[in-house]
Point group: C2
Amino acid sequence: MSFSFNFFNPVRINFGTDSLQEAGKIARKYGTNALIVTGKSSMQKFGVLDKLTCILQKSGVNSIVFSDITPNPTVGEIDMAAKVARTNHVDLIIGLGGGSPLDSSKAVAVAAKDNISVWDYLKREPKSALPVITIVSTSGTGSEVNRFSVMTNTKTGEKPGFGYECMYPKESIIDPVIMQSMPKYVTATTGFDVFVHSLEAYTGSLSNPIADSYCEKAFTLLKESLVTAYNEPENIKARSDMAAASALAGLAIDSAGVGIIHALEHPVSGNFPNIAHGAGLAALTVESMKLNINNKTTKEKYARVAHIFGKIKGNKTEEDMAYELLETVKKILTVLNLNVSLKDLKVNEAQLEKIAKEAFTTMNFAVLNNPVQIDENNALKLLKDSFK
Amino acid sequence: MSFSFNFFNPVRINFGTDSLQEAGKIARKYGTNALIVTGKSSMQKFGVLDKLTCILQKSGVNSIVFSDITPNPTVGEIDMAAKVARTNHVDLIIGLGGGSPLDSSKAVAVAAKDNISVWDYLKREPKSALPVITIVSTSGTGSEVNRFSVMTNTKTGEKPGFGYECMYPKESIIDPVIMQSMPKYVTATTGFDVFVHSLEAYTGSLSNPIADSYCEKAFTLLKESLVTAYNEPENIKARSDMAAASALAGLAIDSAGVGIIHALEHPVSGNFPNIAHGAGLAALTVESMKLNINNKTTKEKYARVAHIFGKIKGNKTEEDMAYELLETVKKILTVLNLNVSLKDLKVNEAQLEKIAKEAFTTMNFAVLNNPVQIDENNALKLLKDSFK
């Protein structure tokens, strides 16, 4: 069988220990008046924000800071940041932090050019955006190297993802040193996100040899370093591997998309904003895999992932190997202390129906990319099975 | 150990059966007056050139054809094509064919903007280039997706490679149907080029996780489909796999470079233009691998490649596995009828010293990227060992 695909990703990646030091030189290529979009705590607490503003200043880049981005960023926060950008005539947006500030920085870059709410871009392609530089602090969101942004509408609980070509970051600075300060729970949830990105891109309808190559390498790095990064926060080799895995998986979903796990998780943490994205994924992954495993191509690909993860004993069939992956995932979740149900995460059971419906409105592109066709009934059953 | 790297590749890839049909729509984004840069025979013989000009015309893109590119394209040919581009005020260059026309199209795109010889760009970075679209007919050069161009100075025999950011093709059309017409010898030599690109990028000093991911996937596809594409020219699955492998390896060398095999091959076919690049590589690969295998990291990586290629029996050491790869390469060369020495290729033994010297002038970036440090004496010995 032949195959066809399109591939494009113009992000310039600057990867390495202390690459943060390059931020001034890099920013200066695009502007002199930057808005730094970041969260409330960790980047300030660990001094990274102060360091960054200094580095920028030395290269002649002034910066102002918008630090009100919350873990599940809201439309209101993004609109507010865009207003700050407009009022101060900034010519460059720098996203600093994990997935939330990075996603937001891309949305702000778009909304800063118009005088409308960022929510309106779900239906209308923006003409242009301010240049964006991402400086990522977790591994990972993948947001550091792709065009996607996720936002939450607090009125409705909707949490759609969107992305246009003008939203690609111009450059991404990936400095594993910054990640050494990540708390264990964040290492676990964001690390598991890397796994799910890789798994869904690898098995989605849009999968292709280039995205596959990223996924396979990400699986190898996850196998080598996810648990080590979790247990040894300052291990720079493990942090580097995980930072690379996050970027690879972020490139993979940019090309090959995500599937039902992400489609269902967005309305979960959209309606229950205290749930970390990666924890929501953890609760949904095993049941989603059980649903997808019966698809022939998915089974074959699950078997390949199991090969990457495991020392294979004896002559196992492809079927055996595919089911082996389910066991591997359960083990990873246990080691990371992420063996949780939706109930454990305090999802309200009465909301499961609303969550199932929203997957088909705000995340339908992900539903369509899932290897197995899903309807609202399957989705609801999956949510109920993940609730127990 | 941590690692650092930079990564950037902005080429838009359009891959798939009959993607040639999209050429008009794609070209129209960049211009209305195209110069098609191609070779003397195959694209005309198989009707691809006529088909392309028709497809362009239907989208309102006029085209003129420069079809004098030879297998080892010369500075004179490129300067001539650039003059044609200037005289006719074209706004777009389309490279059609194998590595030679594709490399040339990028060089022409640069030289068309100035009134100097393309040779001068070895020392001076061009300010800009006309937009380039590549339509590749072999698998592969890798040139379809990267910024590199190789040209031969017929006066001196020098055959340098060069590449600047403005030389990236805007888009690449990769249609495996076109490749079905490739003669067996071309399938063999270009297919082996994919292997060497992957091997040298995988083990070079600039190797990094993203380029590694491309190489590992390329090795998998080579294992599955190189010999099939050679034996069954019309097998579209094998042609698709090899087209993907060529693109992956082309992306890999764009980021991680090549090594001593390419550094020595360029002066070989530069001085003996009747030698196909892939045949020159075939003559040099085994001895180059023997030299590099003693490097610890290279040994480890050779072992990994052997794992991808082989069914591993028993408990072999990394050392055993690395040497296993040498045997695999010899087998591949035999199956492809490429088990040749420089003597078989009619290289003049008296020229070996000149060839060794030129590797350090025109291809020094490749020498420096080789995992093992090489001096002129090593290089000459390697050439002599590959001559026998």
